[in-house]
Symmetry: C2
């Protein structure tokens, strides 16, 4: 048995995932660890999926309601969706099998602001939480849990679940211990301020204390996180990153930003990694991150002594960087703080620290409404994640995206957003490879030329035609021609192109 | 000269509004007091409007950029819009003349989350603030300003303006002194937590301290706030209020709410007043408000000893209640706290106290996206105000509205929101006279029957037809038929009815 289980009583709870699956029943509300491919339970999801299949073969119903931190992995969301083992899922996913099941009506998915997710469980909006399944690096002698590569909603799930299943993953470095900062906001009506004033402030403990008597099983694993490689930085991403840095430089010139101690929040992906690569060669120093996930680019910035601290809830590293982290966690933990998702994404702290948010999008309309989640209004891609938490509360909020997709068949700038995740009241700057549209201080009509200027050149005349048509019938605050407002999307659905 | 000007140096600055208008020039950024008809400057707007007209008659340009707390009054927003004296206006308005000017393209209006408004000025997004024009009850000997019937963005405008014009309004009761709680969040990068844990906590001073040397004029006035009478509570409002109270009762039964110390936030209008009238006869005790404006219904709740404290940024009283307030401010100030808008609407405090938000809307779609601002997607009505600040951060967020308007020509429940101010990720409960749709924990498809159940009966078959059609072509997470998604609105524009 692993030396990673220090607590005497919990040693006696060690069993296989198959045996532990007895504690998960049809209809259960199950909260699990896992955020962006890190720290998800590696064995239990497959065991539950197999149990579901067996039950289905016997003609019995078996489906659980699954709450996570965010996206997980094929051997978690993927196997569970494939086994039709899920009735409901929240708050974020990015698995192809799961996505298809959701869009086919095979399961219910609720796309929730990440800062709301554990809060709503805690507030009882889902009824009783039956089971928490949480991966850890080790269990101390006192029965404290040392988080693995992410914290996510673990604290709230462990606090609120009736039964706890712990996965102890030997793949995770023991040197991660000391990186997590576990803090609980007192429950209503006794909530108080979160005493974080700076990204790196530590306000809690490096472990999660739990009610050990609720633990029904401990499962030992030795399996890597789902760490997706990033593609090499392409030309378009480099151009977008260049415009993002131009924008920052402009803020410095305007006296609204300093080269010292710029605080970043960054979504995950190739463009954000290009931005971070750009920062490596920039004048910005002592950069901090108050964000959701630690990414490769931040590790590079730390190694280059350009970044002093990154606060996040989890890792989202490539396999190469994950290995480096596992080897050098003792060094990196001086620069990294992993927090409960409710803290990493809390409006209170986000608004306080004054960060510049940067998130991806599917499309923006000419007035600055942002669609982050749906293709042509109907099909969900992934989810809003924490982009709403950061966008609404950032010092400056930006959205970054290539101006077109599918070889030009899709424009990221459209007349009317087919789904709105961030409103015209929230988006400040939209950046594509053609430049940045700074919408601050502008009325809707005044935003239009800026937005059209960052659209792909072949779509600009179409957008201008739309705006002219929208203004023809009746001048208005936000002119729209409802008959053709969604024509880009209809065209795409019918002809495979928005043109 | 009024005894209300205590500061020796400022006595020498007393002049007429016409004379003071010399300090307001074409192109100026001007921040004024005023929130929902209370505490706006009574003399300067007309003086500026007259200056604008005179300049225009001489063929000269004259237009200022006007920042307020929220809506003001005909003798403020109205006269300025009528004189074409405004190039830009933020963050909220409700004046008919101004609305027409905005929709006709006569001026630029930016509809900003109220909690963002002073913040964006402070952060320099509008450049230099040239002038602050603020109404007060009196000026102390030290030169401190005692706020009148509201605080709004006064503190930030006074702090950031190069020149200050003060209006001292004798109509405002001197007994308002002690009601305001003036607190400044330290500036970036030194921001710290706002130490409010309970609605009634006082954390600041009862006055605004200013740089007296910036004051260029003091204008004496004696004029009432624009206090609009409320209509008698109609049957539909009563029914909506009944369903709202039913919803609260259900939360108590579910253990998610107590009869003691329920905390309300409430938009302004007849339905909210009906809700507060309903609370008078309810089992709820020791009710608190952490909200934007003090309304008649809250005064009634205080008088009935049902409400212990109301925190707001301003008053929105009927003439009858405003008179009562002026006579009895010394008594009411024990129950009322007026705060800077940035504090009354701050996500940090809103999320901490755990309030139940209740705001009006123009329409909601079948998936729970909320349009609070635009008629048929294009024409602005008023603005988002603080509804986003409260909705996103409330313990529970509700939207309340009659199910139809214009004698049934308009349905408040539509297939696709023609503008989105609150996303499907934010709205939890939608309440009409037909009941409440509790959307918590539901996927988009699962929300549809709930939403249709609160629509007007004659619109339900049309909504069901739409949902069936939307699902026919392709099952999806959020099924839409883009060709007919906006047909309710197109119908209304073409035929005067959504039917």
């Amino acid at each position: 048995m692993s030396e990673r289980i220090g607590h005497h009583g919990l040693k006696s709870k060690v069993m296989t995932a198959q045996d532990a699956a007895q504690f998960v029943s049809h209809g259960d509300n199950v909260g699990i660890s896992g955020f962006t491919g890190a720290a998800y339970p590696k064995a239990m999801p497959t065991a539950i999926a197999e149990k579901a299949k067996a039950q289905h073969q016997e003609g019995k119903e078996f489906a659980i309601n699954l709450f996570t931190g965010a996206s997980t992995a094929p051997d978690c969301d993927g196997v569970l969706a494939e086994a039709n083992a899920l009735a409901y899922r929240m708050p974020y996913q990015s698995d192809p099998i799961m996505r298809n099941s959701i869009n086919a009506g095979g399961m219910n998915y609720q796309d929730i602001h990440l800062s709301h997710s554990a809060l709503q469980v805690e507030q009882g909006f889902f009824g009783q939480l039956d089971v928490a399944i949480v991966e850890v690096t080790r269990i101390t002698e006192e029965g404290h849990l040392i988080p693995s590569s992410g914290v996510g909603n673990n604290v709230e799930y462990l606090d609120n679940a009736q039964r706890i299943i712990i996965e102890v993953n030997e793949w995770q470095s023991l040197d991660l211990e000391g990186m997590a900062d576990i803090y609980r906001i007192p429950r209503l009506p006794n909530r108080t301020a979160i005493p974080i004033n700076n990204s790196g402030d530590r306000i809690g403990t490096p472990y999660i204390d739990i009610d050990v008597s609720k633990v029904v099983a401990v499962v030992e694993t030795n399996a890597p996180d789902r760490n997706s490689p990033f593609k090499p930085i392409d030309e378009v991403s480099k151009q977008i990153a260049g415009h993002f840095l131009d924008f920052l430089e402009g803020e410095v010139r305007a006296g609204r930003l300093a080269y010292d101690r710029y605080i970043m929040q960054s979504g995950v992906g190739n463009v954000p990694n290009a931005v971070m690569a750009g920062l490596l060669d920039s004048k910005f120093e002592n950069i901090q991150a108050y964000t959701e996930v630690v990414q490769d680019g931040m590790i590079d910035l730390i190694d280059a002594e350009k970044m002093t601290v990154a606060s996040a809830t989890s890792f989202a590293l490539s396999p190469e960087y994950a290995e480096r982290m596992n080897n050098e966690a003792a060094r990196y933990r001086k620069y990294l703080v992993t927090r409960p998702l409710q803290i990493s994404n809390h409006p209170e702290v986000i608004r306080r620290v004054g960060l510049i948010a940067s998130n991806g999008m599917i499309e923006a309309d000419i007035y600055g409404n942002i669609n982050s989640t749906h293709v042509a209004g109907s099909r969900i891609m992934n989810g809003i994640g924490g982009s709403g938490d950061f966008t609404r509360n950032a010092y400056i909020s930006t959205f970054i995206s290539p101006s077109e997709a599918k070889n030009g068949a899709i424009s990221a700038i459209v007349p009317f957003a087919s789904h709105v995740d961030h409103t015209e009241h929230d988006a400040m700057v939209v950046i594509t490879e053609h430049g940045f549209a700074d919408l601050r201080g502008l009325s809707p009509r005044a935003r239009v030329p800026k937005m059209i200027s960052v659209a792909a050149p072949e779509y600009r005349p179409l957008l201008e035609e739309y705006f002219a048509r929208a203004q023809k019938d009746s001048a208005a605050h936000t002119p729209h021609d409802l008959a053709t407002a969604l024509s880009f999307h209809s065209n795409f659905l019918q002809n495979g192109s928005m043109k």
